[in-house]
């Protein structure tokens, strides 16, 4: 039996190793969100407005992402993406060095694929909370549909989407911990590699745990601040 429960020195050293994975984890999160937000919103609109073909496609897409474990999505996409891309490039004679791309790009694609589907549902339910009367009122003062969305609907929709956006973001950050499966140099992989040298897995996982805790609580806090700013119009008279 190992004599001491926890190797403190290793615990502290590896904490910083794990911490050094944060930029990659955040980069993947931010890029995936940046790609997924507009796609998710657009697809949510196709669902709400029941646009014939797209609506059906979105339904299937969302159902697949929500219906399968993300680790399996990672496995499948990571295996299939290069094959599909390579054959596309081949067909159109595009000379693109598909195999020289960094794993980071796979991570961007995989996590965007996943997050966009989640955001479809987030935006869809948020759009539903905006009273139809708001759109009508905008029409009645002579705004076009695009103007009404930009100035009235989206700002209000965002407020009710905030808590779910926060959850989606946190789930995304957590999901990057599965990036180890595609050799993404993020928090978990870095700590695991460090652990491997002396087999200090327990310590490594405690470090990973702490790093994610800090990361996610910070993100939660930021969202709360942002949400408060967005929803200042909800303040009651007595406040």
């Amino acid at each position: 039996m190992n004599s001491s429960f926890i190797n403190m020195e290793f615990l502290i050293d590896t904490f910083f190793v794990a911490l050094s994975g944060v930029p990659i984890a955040l980069l993947v999160t931010v890029v995936a969100l940046a790609i997924a937000l507009p796609i998710g919103f657009f697809l949510a609109l196709t669902r709400i407005n029941e646009i014939p073909i797209l609506n059906g496609f979105t339904k299937v897409y969302v159902s697949f992402v929500r219906g399968t474990p993300i680790i399996i999505q990672i496995f499948v996409l990571y295996s299939i993406l290069p094959l599909v891309l390579a054959s596309i490039f081949e067909r159109y004679n595009i000379d693109f060095p598909i195999y020289e791309v960094n794993t980071l790009w796979y991570a961007f694609i995989i996590f965007s694929f996943n997050t966009a589907a989640i955001l479809v549902e987030v935006f869809r339910s948020a759009l539903k909370t905006v009273n139809a009367g708001q759109l009508e009122a905008a029409y009645s003062v002579g705004l076009t549909t695009a103007q009404a969305y930009r100035r009235i609907i989206i700002p209000q929709m965002l407020v009710s989407a905030m808590p779910n956006l926060c959850t989606a973001t946190i789930n995304l950050i957590k999901a990057t911990s599965l990036g180890y499966a595609i050799s993404l140099q993020e928090i978990t992989l870095k700590a695991k590699v460090a652990a491997n040298v002396g087999y200090n897995y327990l310590e490594a996982y405690i470090d990973i745990f702490i790093v994610y805790l800090i990361l996610c609580i910070t993100v939660e806090y930021l969202f709360k601040v942002f949400e408060k700013r967005l929803s200042r119009y909800k303040a009651v008279a007595t406040a």
């Binding site: 159902s63 697949f64 399968t68 499948v76 946190i170 978990t188 327990l202 996610c216």
Partner: protein, 236 residues
Amino acid sequence: MEKYFDINYLWTALPQLVPFLWITLFVAALSVIFGTLLGLIIAVFKLSKNRFLQLLANSYITIMRCTPSIVLLFLVYYGIPAFADSFFGIYLQDVHTGVFVVITFSLQFAAMMAEVIRSAYLAIDKGQYEAAVSVGLTPFQAYRRIIFPQAVVVALPNFGNGLISVLQEGALAYTIGFIDIVGKANLIIANNYNTHALEIYIALAVFYWVLSVVIAKIFELLEKAFSKGQRSLKTS
């Protein structure tokens, strides 16, 4: 890509995977049962007026919310026995892996359920309680006969979502050597010298997808069956 993709691997994998589906479902079922009970307690804490209990519940929920499943799984699987051994001299190394899997996902499910239960409770108009006590029911009777049945209906869709998500998080149990459907899939891949993984993963994805669609459907029907009183005239 036809060069690599050999559908035969997929077909041969399917029957091999089926028996392990039950293990996956069993683990999910146990996690749901224990998780719901724990979640109920946490929801009660969070709704209570006691600041300390609220803090406890909130911290629990935050920690669970912020911990990736795979990390939680490892901490439970290696942490609990090491901790029990170092501090209490209790030897837990012989405990079956499945137990740790169930503990992990029960803990996680409880955090989800606490919020589901709490919001379902809050969704029921206070007037329902007031009306019940005003016709002479005791507070307990009011909860049991009026509030609870309505809260269940409100909670149902979120409960279904929670169930689907615990099923999916469970897919990570393979990382600690637990052989459920994913574990079995990885064994099949290993037996093919780690080749043709894609076909096997697609088989897995199909299982999960069908499963989640079926569960969603079941909950939709349940919701309909339970919400007879809530149905609005328009939709009937």
